[in-house]
Amino acid sequence: MKNAVGREIPDALLTGGREVYQGKNHMDGRYIQKAAPKTRRCEKPQESKVVESIAQALRQCKAANGMTFSFHHHLRDGDYVVNMVMQTAIEQLGLEELTIAATSLGSAHDPIADYIEAGKVVGIQTSGIRGRMGEVVSAGKLKTPAVIRSHGGRPRAIEGGEVHIDIAFIAAPTSDCMGNCRGIGGKSNCGSLGYAMTDARYADHVVVITDCLVDFPNMPASVEAIDVDAVVVVDSIGNPQKIASAAARISQNPRDLMMAEDVAKVIASTPYFKDGFSFQTGVGGPSLAANLFLEQYMDDRGIRMGWAIGGICGPMVELLKKGKVGKVIDVQDFDLDGVNSIHQTPGHFEMSASQYANPANKGAFVNKLDFVVLAALEIDTSFNVNVLTGSDGVLRGAPGGHPDAAAGSKCCIIVTPLIRGRMATVCEHVVTVTTPGDCVDVLVTDYGIAVNPLRPDLIQCLDAAGIPHVGIETLKEKAYALVGTPDDLEWEEQVVAVLEARDGTILDVVRKIRPFTLG
């Protein structure tokens, strides 16, 4: 069945009331039945939940074949916990048929690819998938199609019972003996633990894994002891250098800066750019650099940013400290400046993934957002964005909060170079639709700006400000003139990943790629 972004969704996937994507806000107003976990009562007074090993924690939580284990990705590319747990479960306990439900997976998790190839891991649910794992899943080696959800879609699916977590593993920079966890105060700090919060509330069992046991009570806790079954202390939960880089520096790349300046110009031309406006930006080169130019426009107009959300890093913390933004609400930290500021700088708060972006709750922050500035691997002439598959068809990205912030915001700006090497970023059809075009308003490239025709109001704003813009077709033609028109990718029938829209409908599928070889 064809969905609202023109993608053919196999009927076999449309079971149990599953629908195809039918446009923005299609599910608005419907009721959902929330799912509750089945948890163990701990009535007796207890001194400590610390157990000796991950194996022991797994046994205590009745780990069994066919279970779903959840993980969060706050330790990013420095994470040791996913590999540690899966190795124990598979190699020590001999478990099989396991599903990993992670908030995201990255190149730190390359070893999991072996477990997929060996058939021990049979399901993957994640926002992002990269490195070797992306390659083996793309090659069709995972037993069931991977399910890709946005950061808002994941808590929606968990709360609605579409994902049932048997055991949630919380990598915690600090924990006390009862399992009160924080992202700060230890030796592998990550700042916010926002993505772990829903998992802990909805999993049957919760295991905290920490490398820094602190005195009870570890307050204010991001994950609370009331949800925790066991605490395991290990030597190290991750590589601090890869968890939070030193300060995320604003790009000095002239191309990034040029695009960032145009982004700020576009923002400043809209009626939403007024005192108290709200803002989210990615941490990619041009997105982050937009902060710099935006600050100049704010100074010129004598206005302040009301609040900012998202993944947080140094430049936003700077604005907060300078009093140029009222509050920063933080679901994840990308650098040490962010990590060191959360709960320390007045106005810098932590939030859960659900609070951030869940389309099925009653007050997600993204829905009150004025502007979001985001990147793209590809964007097509219908403004559909792909941030999941490379233009070679291989899984190597992450929708993250992209579809949520795009859908919720009043003005979603995509900023990307027109081409990367020989890849046309602006193209006829994206390989995979991860953010539907009806959520995307403006495209800023190094070769020009295009406004979605669905937003005549924004076109007027740009015209009034004298900002030149062109049709997105023109940009696509320019890109193809530079790199040549790409050949269509060739696919096998097998679906290797299902991409859920944030509302739970099916937005697209990724099939097994048939690589081109010289005959």
């Binding site: 000095q252 002239p254 191309r255 800066l257 040029m258 090497g421 190094d446 070769y447 003139a481 530079l482």
Partner: protein, 304 residues
């Protein structure tokens, strides 16, 4: 192939941005930053054993990339190297707008290149005189011979000083107030103006010293330079800001050109604008101001 219009000898050249001709990722779209001219470099940026490879890259870039209104100049290797003759051939064959003669020391040097360009234009059936020249003065001798260099050829559109080599010869280093090159810049400007060609200042290489860069650009403008060589697109915007005319200058230039049109149609040679005596000597300056104003987005009329 992308046909390029015949190069204009005197056009707006506020910014000339250097780009390594050997780096495909850089030269494919160096024009997007809005420099008036880009300078594809076959000389210092290219290692000695990659000169041949750089020419192949340059040739195909020139033939296949649409640089639009951006002028494309190539810095060739010096006359004391085995490379310059093939450099000239590839520039002419590829259709570069101009050639920058490195380490130019005399009118003879200009003539040597000029002859090679003439021969090559014949070889490749390129319109005679199409390929423009500019000279880079990099030594005391070059600076002392500035006038004969500037006036050596009808193809010459400008002269530039190359600070790095020149300062070494002079046993000095960049100074905050520009005193290290004050005389050389002055001498070169005098020679360029006397010969009626354009004059460009050297690059400012310390990207971390924005303050020093800005001071130097302001001094360039005050001394009367037409523009500046740049090493990074980030430097373009400030130069364009500094070299932009004021609104008053634009209005004045418009009035002068309008009055000139009317008066010369009526056969009058000297007239007054706002109480000021104006004759034909004011016209090139007024035209230059409006051209600048157009490039800066300050003028949309049809007087130029």
């Amino acid at each position: 192939m992308i046909p390029r219009p015949r190069p204009e000898r005197f056009r707006l050249r506020r910014t000339m941005m250097f780009m390594n001709a050997q780096k495909p990722g850089l030269i494919k779209d160096a024009y997007i930053y809005g420099a008036d001219s880009i300078m594809l470099d076959l000389e210092d940026a290219v290692a000695e054993n990659q000169k041949d490879a750089a020419r192949f890259s340059l040739y195909h870039a020139l033939r296949s990339i649409d640089y639009g209104d951006t002028e494309v100049i190539v810095r060739i290797n010096g006359l004391d190297t085995p490379h310059w003759r093939e450099d000239v051939r590839v520039c002419v064959a590829g259709g570069a707008d101009g050639i920058r003669i490195a380490k130019c020391e005399s009118a003879d040097d200009v003539h040597t290149i000029e002859r090679a360009v003439e021969e090559t234009e014949r070889e490749f059936g390129v319109e005679q005189g199409r390929t423009l020249l500019m000279a880079a003065l990099e030594s005391p001798k070059g600076v002392l011979n500035a006038y004969e260099i500037c006036s050596a050829s009808e193809r010459m559109f400008g002269v530039a000083i190359s600070g790095g080599d020149f300062r070494k010869c002079m046993q000095t280093t960049p100074q905050r107030d520009g005193v290290d090159m004050l005389f050389a810049r002055g001498q070169m400007l005098l020679a360029a103006r006397a010969a009626g060609i354009q004059c460009f200042d050297t690059v400012f290489t310390n990207l971390d010293d924005q303050e020093g860069f800005e001071a130097e650009v302001l001094q360039n403008k005050a001394m009367g330079f037409d523009g500046k060589s740049l090493i990074n697109p980030r430097q373009i915007r400030f130069v364009h800001q500094v070299f932009a005319p004021t609104e008053k200058e634009v209005m004045q230039a418009e009035k002068i050109l309008l009055a000139y049109r009317e008066q010369s149609a009526a056969g009058v040679g000297v007239f007054t604008v706002d109480g000021k005596m104006i004759d034909i000597a004011f016209i090139p300056g007024a035209e230059r101001t409006l051209r600048l104003a157009r490039a800066c987005g300050m003028y949309e009329g049809d007087l130029i």
